[in-house]
Symmetry: C2
Subunit: 526 residues, 2 copies
């Protein structure tokens, strides 16, 4: 039986406070630094590894973190989650996104079915549908093949799937797996839908409406944009649209869609990339086999997260180092810096995943807590960031922990040799150089050119960004966020903080406002 306790009630947390801090500059300089890079590394799935040599930890801190992970029963709590306990206490729901890609524990029954079978069956139905679209068995009214797929969704129905699509687009081009271009409409700003619709050939486009509840206002509004555009082109919208939703939603059995694929309440939006929410668009864009490889990578990583030994468990280790940085060292944010153009929107996905999951001020029982929780997450791809905000990361007054990601090979494998190195080598050289520059710094008598160092980072290194490694990467961060939520004793799976804005926006539109809200409404001409 697991025991849900606040972080500041754990003995190991008190012990951790007393462990001597690491001087990162001296730890990472010379032979000691070389040793750390060799030793402070743990294997992930799909050929990835998590290297934490440049984090402010040493064997003493690691063993204190391990003691804390043990006392917080992280491994047991993870098991409770994948065995189907009601982990989402706020909404009284199980948390089952991992069942969309594998089965780690007991059979989980809900809504009268075995949930693993349910998700597998939806994956199979999507695969069959995608294959029929690709083969030309499902076409537009004129019998012509669909060439473009457009996802209509917002938040978790947009950021994850969009980031995953961009992450695999180049790889799919090179490997012959590219089937259809994908576009995304998310914002309620009418310029978003209009611009996407102007950029595509609607007659050869298939649209995926994604809303678990079937009532997301932004998404339904954007759907009507699409229906208008299809009508104007003289097309029957019901022959161009599918839905990804829950079985109980108004979209589930509507004649407005060619087909509906199902997820359920046990999969939060930000954890839904491996469900039909990501599955439909990725299977249409790259084929069901690519989507299946992506799921395999995620499932393998989920398995590694079940290792009770923190030192061999990359997600748990990453999580605990993050807790140390947040609660002991007091750092308030983390920058995600992928040295891979394919991961250009991966930071935006992680921003939602992490900040929406762990940006909480009450514990899982609704009681106030007395320690800080989820940090700010932001980031852009390197080397672009180097020419942008890295100035502050190197010489600003606050310390910002860094999460690098790098791959030995590019995705398109098209390169040029300039000044005796390829672009890919330059890219990798830059990430290696940055880690050491941040950690070790460099003394200069001119303080304006002085680098204090002591700025911690970790790096995830892989061979290539492909479906499997992408799945592993995604699951790693999902599990990291989950473990941190366990440590902080919060519910990482609800999002009550988004409700108030929705309620007030409705009041504005109904002209039921007074005070400041009425004045802002006037200023904005509503």
């Amino acid at each position: 039986m697991v025991d849900w306790k606040n972080l500041d009630t754990l003995k190991a947390y008190d012990d951790l406070k007393n462990v001597k801090h690491v001087d990162l500059v001296s730890a990472m300089t010379g032979e000691s630094g070389a040793k750390r890079v060799k030793n402070y590394s743990v294997k992930m799935a799909a050929g990835l590894s998590y290297n934490y040599a440049a984090k402010e930890v040493d064997d003493n801190i690691l063993s204190a973190l391990k003691a804390l992970a043990d006392e917080a029963q992280l491994s047991d709590k993870y098991a409770a989650l994948y065995n189907g306990e009601v982990i989402n206490t706020g909404e009284k729901r199980m948390v089952l996104h991992q069942l969309t890609r594998g089965q780690l524990g007991d059979n989980v029954m809900a809504d009268g079915v075995n949930k693993r079978d349910f998700y597998l069956n939806e994956q199979k139905r999507i695969a069959e549908f995608a294959n029929k679209v690709h083969s030309g068995e499902i076409t537009n009214a004129k019998g012509e093949k669909f060439t473009t797929v457009v996802q209509i969704g917002i938040g978790g129905s947009d950021l994850g799937p969009r980031a995953m699509y961009l992450a695999l687009e180049n790889w799919a081009h090179r490997t012959g797996n590219f089937k259809m271009e994908a576009k995304f409409i998310s914002n309620v700003d009418p310029d978003d839908a209009s611009a996407v619709l102007n950029s595509i050939d609607v007659a050869h486009s298939i649209f995926i409406l994604v809303s678990k509840s079937g009532t997301t206002l932004e998404t339904l509004t954007n759907e009507s944009f699409v229906i208008d555009a299809l009508k104007k082109a003289g097309l029957d919208s019901s022959k161009h649209m599918i839905a990804v939703t829950s079985e109980t939603s108004p979209l589930a059995k509507s004649d407005n869609y060619l087909e509906a694929f199902f997820m359920d309440d046990y999969i939060g939006g930000r954890y839904s990339s491996t469900s039909g929410v990501g599955g439909a668009v990725l299977s249409l864009a790259f084929g069901p086999d690519v989507f299946a490889q992506f799921l395999d990578g995620a499932a393998e990583e989920d398995k590694l997260a079940a290792n009770p030994n923190m030192l061999e468990n990359p997600a748990m280790l990453d999580a605990m180092i993050g807790v140390y940085e947040r609660n002991i060292l007091g750092y308030g944010s983390t920058a995600v810096l992928p040295y891979s153009q394919g991961l250009s929107r991966f930071p935006a996905h992680l921003q939602q995943l992490d900040m929406e999951s762990n940006g909480k001020s009450v514990n899982r029982f609704g009681e106030p807590i007395n320690y800080v929780t989820g940090p700010i997450i932001f980031g852009e791809p390197g080397t672009n960031g180097q020419h942008s905000f890295y100035q502050l990361l190197h010489q600003g007054t606050d310390i910002i922990p860094l999460q690098f990601i790098g791959f030995k090979n590019s995705q398109l494998q098209n390169d040029v040799n300039i000044q005796d190195s390829t672009s890919q080598q330059k890219l990798c050289a830059n990430v290696a150089a940055q880690i050491v520059a941040f950690a070790c710094g460099k003394k200069d008598e001119n303080l304006n050119k002085n680098f204090k160092g002591g700025r911690p980072s970790s790096i995830i290194i892989g061979e290539e960004l492909n479906p499997k490694s992408l799945g592993a990467l995604l699951a790693h961060f999902e599990n990291k966020v989950m473990f941190q939520g366990f440590v902080w004793n919060i519910n990482s799976f609800d999002q009550e903080g988004v409700q108030l804005g929705k309620v007030l926006a409705k009041k504005v539109l109904a002209h039921e406002t007074d005070g400041a809200l009425a004045e802002y409404s006037k200023l904005l001409n509503i």
Copy 2:
């Protein structure tokens, strides 16, 4: 004569510490809130206004901030800058980006010329060139018109121009000002250049190589990608490329370019959108008249920033409220949240502008300082962000000041009416609702559904995002960052923090490494 002093030596700073804080919840509730929204607003250029009703200030704090702005001589320092003093002390350079769009003060002579004349002349040369491309006087070797323009640059040569292009693309489509599609290549990751080149018709593309020094490694590497692609297509690359650079750079008089347009050392990369760096691509994409309107908006805003009365000077006021939040209230970051899809990359530009300018730990004389400087800047367009990281903004353990931006009208002016409101109305209703939700919160006995409020924000409101309002918006933030740099007594115009990484990356590529750097290089296969 201005006196450059550290913030913590100013009497008004000590006084500010003793002014009673504002209880934002009560200030923004009821009649008091309505009054604040009406009164706490200041006019900007191009029909914009800066409303700071939901910031944690009142008349007492504002007058203390005004005293600080006066004692810090912000207005005199701004005058020193636009009159040509050497404000960039680190690199011993004047700071003249404002002369690219107007003249606020004395004639500034440098390099033997009047600098305003020089920038105007470059603007004129770019306009003539763009007109010839549009009219078909300048074509490819077959005499066919160019249809696409590709900017090759990184950092300031990429983020600003890219954000501005995206901000005007839809507007230009609606108003008949769209001339050519623009694309951007920035990252040294070979997948960036390869993917852009795969997506265009190189035979009808004109490329702009942007590098002030003419030696930026990423940019020269990407140039060779482009030259390879042109050669493979049997084309003469020198007939497809222009350069934007300084007169002393190796690119300035090279036969490899159709034409070279000039900027100089007095314009920092992140301040260069109104120089040829933004001018070439924007004039080609939308025509020189659109670029001129953009400059007009910026020039008008610059003029407003010269008002010595902080309460009537939107950039100075915004800057001082930011200093209050950073140094007195201790907030470490700011989220930029434009409710306008056109501004999708504007936060990324501001991230560079602000963090590279003010992420410093020494004053302008190279002496250490004892207070915090530039915050973290991050953001995504609303309403997308609402479904992503707003959970943490509403209910997280840290307070994050917010900068909203909203427009009454959409850019494409194509809309649908759903549930009695248009999408544009929904968009505006959401931003109004969010401001009040963040400021006032809402009590709930279930603490998981409780909103504490007290989360400060300001909003810039405009009629429409168009060239002029975009120019004003850009200049507002440039001037805000400048004023904050003055208050902190730092040099906002150099970026020594980017140097160490470059030096170490070269060592990696030359295999001149040891210790940790050698080990990382091995892991990354360099």
